[in-house]
Every structure is written in C-alpha cells, then in structure tokens.
Amino acid sequence: MNATKILSKNEEPMIILHNLRKSFGNNEVLKGINLEVARSEVLVLIGPSGSGKSTLLRCVNNLESPTGGEVTVDGERVNRTDLKPRAFQKHINRVRTHMGMVFQHFNLFPHKTVLENILEAPTQVLHRNPEEIIAEALELLDKVGLAEKKDSYPVQLSGGQQQRVAIARALAMRPSVMLFDEVTSALDPELVGEVLLVMEGLAAEGMTMIVVTHEMGFAERVANRVVFMAEGQIVEEGVPKEIFSNPREERTKRFLADVLK
C-alpha cells in the first residue's frame, strides 16, 4: 500500500492549472488556461509579447492573483479563496517557500552582499541555522560559478553574474519548482550563455521548471515540452521538435517565422 501511495504521488503532476483566468480591469490576459506540468519536467512557454505567458507564470506563485480558476502546486491549492486575508497571507508565504522565481531584472537586494542575498530567506523565513546554511550557500555559489564573489555587492557584478546569483538565491530555499520569467532578456548577448548553462544543469538534475523565454535554442535543447501561447490562450503544445519543425497552427508558424528570421 505504501508503494502504491508513493507511486500515485509521483504520478500526480507537480503543477496543475485549471481554467486559469486573469483580468486587469476589462482586459482579460488569461482566458481559461488548462495546463499540467509533471515532476522533473521542463516546460518552456513561448509566444508574442502580451500573450500572457509572464502573467501565467506569476499566477503560479500568486504574485498575480488569478481572477478565476485553480492553481495547484505539489498537491496543494495555491490560490485559496476560502481563507480570510490574514490567513491567506500566511498560507501563501508558506506555499511560496517551495517555489523559486527568477526575474528578468534579477532583483537582487542591492544593500546586501551576494552571500547575504542567498542567506536572507533561509535564515529569516525558514529560521535555519546560519552555520549550516552558509556551507550550503557557498556550495550553491560554487555551482553557479561565483564562489569568489560571495562578498561582492550586486552593483559590482555583471548582469549575467547577478542573474546566476539570483538563481542561487532561489535555490537556497530548496524549492521543488523553479519559475523563470524571461531571465535572459535584460542581458547583453554574450552573457546569455552562462545563465542558460546554469539552467540546463538544473534541468539535468531533475528540477521541475517553467521557463518563459525567447531563447528558442534553449527551448529546443532543454525543454521536455513547449507551449505556445497567444492572446491569453494556449494555441499549441508539444515536444520541441514537433513545435519548431512542424507546427500545426497557423499562428505558431507565423510567430516562429518572426522570431527565427
């Protein structure tokens, strides 16, 4: 019985979006999205700007609260509507500790050193023992290739370095899901590679990832599945090869022709 329980738990998708809707005023940005992400799956979201892919990502950890529908991560409902505001805040803070997010503009804390950036949430939120977590943080920094920068301030780093620190900062919470929101869009072209490399390594380790990106090469190489969105809806999804070499939908063909030109 125990074995079947573990099995069924593993089969259950890590992320389930059910009829997800989001409006800003009268503008409906997400028009009923249904999407499941399996454990250890790398899902890449592509689509023209304004298609709602970033909003979708931000609904997963409730940085945007959905107007309708259900978001479930690791078996737990994220956008609970049954809770009063105070209880919901408590709930969402706890749920977010299981999800790491990396942003387009890095958003490192400028008043803290690289190491302090990484230690902040594990010590302040999880109240973990600093000594134990410092060793772990240094390991993470080593993993993203920035061990020697631990005492630098963000302003002293290049964009690519800052973004790698941001990834390490998210990983320090030991999340079961990582959300990447156009993380290379603000980087100089020569710095994109180093960030993608870190993400590739993470994917290889079996991290569940949703990646919003314009890097089609990365999508092709790393994604298990590519989802193409337009105007707040999923137009087409499939394995990278399918989507990139043989898209079914006219809208997908047009988009790919534009970006791969």
Partner: protein
C-alpha cells in the same frame, strides 16, 4: 563696533541655552522620526482605518503654522485638563510637526524602491512585514537621508519658536540677556552662530550615515 567683552562674558550663558535647544531638538527628532515612519506606513496601507488617519494627520499639520500648533498644545490643552510644561509642550508640538514632514519624505523613499524588490522578497516566502523591514526600508533609507537631513535642520531652527512659551532655550536666553545688557546685536549674533553650529553638526552627522549606505557604489 562689536562689544567683545560682552561677547566673551555672556557666551557661556548662551551655550547653556544652546544645550536646552539641543536637548529639545534631539528628543523631538527621535519622536518625529517615529511619528513619520508610523504615519508613512499608515498612508501606504490599503486599510482605510490606517490610510485616512495618516493622510489627515499630515494634512492638518502641514496646513497650519507651527506657532499655532504650539499655542494649542501649551495654552489650549489645559482647558481639557492636559497641562504640559513648556519643555514637553515644545517637544510634542515639534515632534508632531516634523513627523508630518518626515512622513511624506519617508513615504516618497519607500515608493521609490523598485517594485521588483518586493516581488523578489515575497517570492521567497517573506511576509509583507519582513519585506518592509529587511528589504524595502533599508533601501528607502538611502534615498530618504538627504531630504530627512533637511527636515532635521528645519526642526533645529524651529525650536526657537518654543521661546514664546517661556522655555529658556537659546533664543529666549539671548532675549533675556538683551534686557540686562542692551546689546541686541551681540546677543542675537551669538545665538545665530550657535544655531549654525548645531545645524552644521546635524548635517555632518547625517553625511556620515549616508556614507555607510553605499553598498559597493563608488
């Protein structure tokens, strides 16, 4: 011609007055900072029971003269059984007054911290309070210090108004000495010099604090 003998003889008396001015300034400054921070957080709150009282406080203080506020507290409140001595009346009026200006300064600083900072912090599971305390306020401080210094300097000079409710601080000390010496120029000149010393020290001190918040910026 300046009467140097008068200056040398009476200077220690004025320094004594200046110490009272310093004392009332420092206490009002600390209380005014606390009031400003609380009011700023109230105004930024989405809770109407916090937002509107905060707005009202800033509005009523900024739209009335400090001298009238001081008189209301010192001469008006005893009517309702609240009698404060000149010193604490002065502190209360000055703290409330500078607090309203600090509130706007602090609010501006908080709003100037990029939204992405809060998003990053919240995405790590940090609560609103933790985010404000650990991430937003320290960054806001860097932006707030220069205009806050301005408020401090104004506060120090405004303490001279407390002379009107018989607190023998720097200005009233000078006035009283004029009564016995008939040397208004010398006395007010010395008072002015001492005010300048106090305000300059405050500015220098704040410059030191500012230099500690460079975070790797050159």
């Amino acid at each position: 011609m300046l009467d140097w003998q008068v200056i040398i003889h009476y200077f220690p008396f004025l320094v004594k007055g200046a110490l009272i001015t310093l004392e009332i300034s420092v206490i009002s400054l600390i209380l005014g900072l606390a009031a400003g921070l609380v009011a700023a957080l109230c105004i930024l709150s989405t809770n109407p029971f916090l937002h509107w009282p905060g707005r009202f406080y800033v509005w009523i203080i900024r739209s009335t003269p400090l001298l009238v506020q001081l008189f209301i507290i010192y001469f008006g409140l005893p009517q309702f059984g609240i009698s404060l001595n000149p010193f604490w009346s002065g502190v209360l009026a000055l703290a409330l007054n500078t607090g309203a200006y600090n509130a706007e300064t602090i609010r501006g600083g908080i709003l100037a911290v990029p939204k992405g900072q809060q998003e990053a912090s919240r995405s790590l599971g940090m609560s609103k309070v933790l985010t404000m305390r650990r991430i937003v306020l320290p960054q806001a401080m860097r932006l707030i210090i220069p205009p806050l210094g301005n408020n401090f300097v104004i506060l120090i000079k405004d303490t001279s108004l407390v002379s009107t409710i018989t607190l023998v601080e720097l200005t009233l000390t000078a006035q009283r000495l004029i009564g016995s010496t008939y040397k208004p120029f010398e006395m007010y000149l010395m008072a002015a010099v001492l005010y300048a010393i106090l305000t300059t020290c405050a500015a220098l001190l704040l410059g030191q604090v500012e230099r500690r918040t460079t975070w790797g910026h050159v």
